[in-house]
Symmetry: D5
Subunit: 165 residues, 10 copies
């Protein structure tokens, strides 16, 4: 089979492995990376993650969200099974929606040193109101710093229709 | 449990409390805030509020709307249960759609001194016509003042399809 | 203009009237009827009512629903503006979702003595769960009694998709 | 060109004609028929008519609806351009929604003597409530009489979702 | 490769052939069949055909439709590429919508002698009205004869929403 | 009741009044205004009007459209019931789609002297083609003049999907 | 306030209470009931529960589902906040999808002795395939026993469209 | 009737005429124009044309598309019935999708000398792939030349979802 | 963890295993079963499988489908990961759509001896036409034999809308 | 037939040919081109390709995606049947999603030397997460180089809603 060689898959330990351990306490150390083979051209990678759940920091009640993560890799890329495990580790973590979204972004910046990244959480309603936090980041010293600012300035000018059903 | 500490939740009195009082007369004093833990980076928070109802100032007939509120916090954030109570306080309030939307924005500016805020109301039709007012604001002395102008200038170039059914 | 004559509109006092009074305490006496001109053939009339709001009987918190009312008139029909006023009269009424839907049906049975009627309420979620009660009725001594039973037996075999957004 | 011959098109005078007169006062005499070439097998023909408008009999305010007409022809079929003109003739006609739908059905029964027919009107809301009347008919002495009863008994067990937007 | 053998594909001459001739005059002779390998159990096959076009028999104006064909094979099945060519052969054929749908059904009955077949045409509007004819058939001497009657009796009790856009 | 005072409602004569007269001949004089209470900040007001109907100037055939009107008020705002009456006054008016949309805009400019206004009509098809004209305007001497040009330049780069059903 | 009296709310201890404990280990004892005030007529109550999560019994990986519960009450009704807590108690429970759905039904039968109940789980995909189990029950000695059989026999003849996105 | 006068309709010969000839060989000479009455302000007119069909230049197989045409008129406007006839004239024309779209644009430029025009064709799939060409043009010596370039540069950054069903 | 015990998971060898072998030649031997723990009550299990691909038996061209499988287990249930592997084994298998669907059903009958099973394939179009075969089966000596016949008789009376995009 | 001449179709060998060979090992050599007849004006061509499948480089498990390819041709255009064959050649190719998308773009750049090209892959989920890579390119020495950068900077600011069903 052509495509990625074993060498190019070094560091990817979880994918296809038997007996994966699922952690339910917040743990960014499960994240794994692999090398970006297309560093000559910038490009976007988006992860759609509709199975996110955490806890309310005050009441302990479970919260649910879809998390959208988009980034422009520099040298490293995040392996998607390890990303799944990382997001599962919020299962017993208590934090406000706004905090979760910022934490996810900051952990991925630390892991990947990406050129650009954004994280958008869309939570289900409590008391008839739902909350959708969005944060982003562009690497200092690249054009992406200014792009991040621009994308934030013109974020979500067409909010999706919500009726709680 | 990790996440927000009790100290970081100071000022949040309504969430999870028993015996919440629901006010049905306009009352911005029910709004509560908590501290923004991510002041180092600007980000957006959106509230989707499909359960808004007020009264027509002339006929007393109930009006219904979905209200979308988006803001960029500075030091303070609005707690979502108190926001729910605030919006419920319009239940016996009589005002034109255009006025309600402006009032909500101004109350939140006073409460939060946010960097940016916008409020979009989408009301159900009366006499076959529905009204959707939108207003926004950017803080003097920040880039968000100009952003507010730009977002207003290019507001809603793709109106959603409406057929009253 | 052809169509309904003034005589055929007797009893319809609210439609097009100035200065309608909106009651916000439960009051079935606002309901008005007019004569069914097509008593020779049974037929259905459905009212779609997406602007229903009541209060939680325990917490006082507002609830919201879309109410679907379908009936087969006998001699009388309900005038739609009076139906609107009647539904508005639940605005300050505290009852469980299941009770509201049964009460609406029983008030309309009393008013109209219809051959058949059904009421389906679809409420917005509280705590992540939404409740949709459905009740119906067929007049004793008509085929509609058995029809009501059959329609209940085969009610809602394809529940609509709900994701709280 | 194969297909219907001129002879088989006898009685069709409006289709493709120049200078059609549009009547805006209720006038069933504009309806035209042509011969059913497939009388050996029963079949359905449905007309989707989303451009129906009439007037409120009390206030004179315009009403709007989509009308769905389905029938099983016997010997005659209604020509669709003449049906369009007939529906346009309600433009200045004042009647309740429930009456319009019954009148349309009865005019077509008189014209076509169909084996079966049903008419469903779906109107836009007034005061937050919309009304959808439905009536049907099966020819005496055919199985369609009983079918009409059955179709009425099990009419619309899945009301479409309505939110007035 | 496992699956159908060459012998089992006998009679299939058009599939994968170079230089297919497209006929634009009504021609049922292009239809081809292959043998039903599952004659022990009755089953349905549906063809979705959104690219149907014919001509108005009076004005010559092109008409457009999606045609849905569902059948229960007996010994023979219709090959889909030949079905495509057959439907293309209506391209210059002038007939009323109601006639086209009946003709297609009758040609396929003649070709396949199926246990059951139904054809539903959904045309685009002319003058604001669209027409959707539906016909069906069950083979004499089988249970499908009665099934055909039942399916016709309860055809399309939930007409799809149409707004001409 | 708090909200708009009677004084702030001066000039609003139609809302909640009995015996409204519906004019069906084009008449911009029915339009009424009220004072903008939020002149300190520019904001948008959109009217969704899905019940527009006029006549073809050549054939007299009725046309149907949804009209979307968005404006930024200066000192005056248009009262929505009077807007409804104004749009109803096109009911017997014959004009091309492109002309109707421009006329509506110009009448509202004359009435309101708004900072910005745009009108988008989306008509139902005739002969398989539908027409959607769009025009806009920005007040001389304000930034909105240039905004109008920009919004026109980048108008509708994502046309909605249309299939005439 | 009219509606349910305190006495009629006896046994409802969780609704509106402060300091709710969220259990994450399977615990049917959290379920609470209240009295059915409409025992004279059978009716349906549906709960839409899109926030269900459990664990895979073999891998420990979290699973996610929307659970639809519909029942016809006899003497008792389930209180919705206690239902929420019960469903949350599956959060750390490991079972196959098919088992979870049967367990939920059986716990509610034990609690409520309902005339009829059905539970439909719709899970998110693993390995490209999603699983939707459905079970139901009708009380011995009532017509609902036969109804349950019929509803099972004709369950889901129109599977919803699934494309994993 | 007010609106366009006969004089303002000069040159419009096809609209409402009896005995229209439908040409099925490519013929731009059928196009007709009328005068733009609103030359003082630039505005957009869009034609939605879902009934386009041509032939594959190599195989002769029919192709189907929806064509969206948007233009900013200068002195002349295209009459919509003549546009319909022009598009019908592709019915027997063989060309690649990319060529059809360019040809339509160039014919309309020649006819109308518009300030701006764009044509977007969305074809149905062949072999699992569908093709959507888009071209545009801005008049030399006007701002629309640069606008055309900008609109091309930022064309279709959000491709619609396609799954071939 | 509560739920299925290891003993109750006997026979499930693939789930969570490392180094799964993916076979791309038709191989029903990969299917695995586990014991039905709820044999006291009949219930449905549906698998949604949108990632099915096979080959055309004549041209070798890949075909794509969504396969819906619904069954009522008797003693055995099919494990979903093994079902995935089985469906993948059609990847290099050449057969007509109608044959694939029948083969899948027959292999599962052989494996599970279910009380009832049905398989519905919805393929993407070739040459503008898509094919959706449906077959089903009920076990001899149970009520499900008659149910299977009934479900087939009333199969798909509301074909989904298809436009190939 | 008018349109493309045989000469203008030179190099197009696969379209309409009998006996096409389907390769299932990655092979860019199957791609064919034809001449751009509209080199005087830049324009876009988009290919919608919902039938893409490859293999996971580590586990060998099949992956599925919809690929959207948009380009601005210079002298050459890619023939769509050859594009289909090229995409089929990934069927047995193992590579990460991010790699596939970049490889497709680079092969087409090499083939066509286009002014601009972009490729967006939208894959189905594995483990609850789906991945959507996007890359683009603008030709050195043309304005399209800067356009590519801009389009990347403002890519996908409105991620589509994903719920894995
Ligand atoms: Ca809620
Ligand atoms: Ca709508
Ligand atoms: Ca709606
Ligand atoms: Ca909730
Ligand atoms: Ca939803
Ligand atoms: Ca929703
Ligand atoms: Ca209304
Ligand atoms: Ca039309
Ligand atoms: Ca539509
Ligand atoms: Ca449509
Ligand atoms: Ca989906
Ligand atoms: Ca689609
Ligand atoms: Ca195709
Ligand atoms: Ca589609
Ligand atoms: Ca998965
Ligand atoms: Ca989805």
């Amino acid at each position: 089979m052509s495509g990625r060689t074993d060498k190019e898959l070094e560091g990817v330990t979880l994918l296809g492995e038997k007996g994966t351990k699922y952690k339910y306490d917040y743990d960014p150390s499960v994240l794994e990376t692999f090398v970006n083979k297309h560093q000559d051209n910038d490009y976007f990678v988006k992860f759609n993650c509709p199975e996110f759940t955490s806890l309310c920091p005050k009441t302990g009640q479970p919260d649910f969200a879809t998390i959208y993560i988009s980034y422009v890799p520099d040298k490293l890329m995040v392996e998607s099974k390890s990303l799944k495990l990382y997001l599962f580790s919020f299962r017993n973590h208590g934090d406000f929606h706004e905090d979760c979204v910022n934490i996810i972004m900051k952990d991925l910046i630390k892991l990947l040193a990406p050129k650009y990244i954004e994280v958008w959480g869309k939570f289900t309603p409590r008391g008839g109101i739902s909350i959708d936090p969005y944060c982003n980041y562009g690497k200092e010293g690249t054009k992406w710093k200014e792009v991040a600012e621009k994308r934030l300035f013109y974020h979500d000018m067409y909010p999706e229709r919500i009726d709680n059903r």
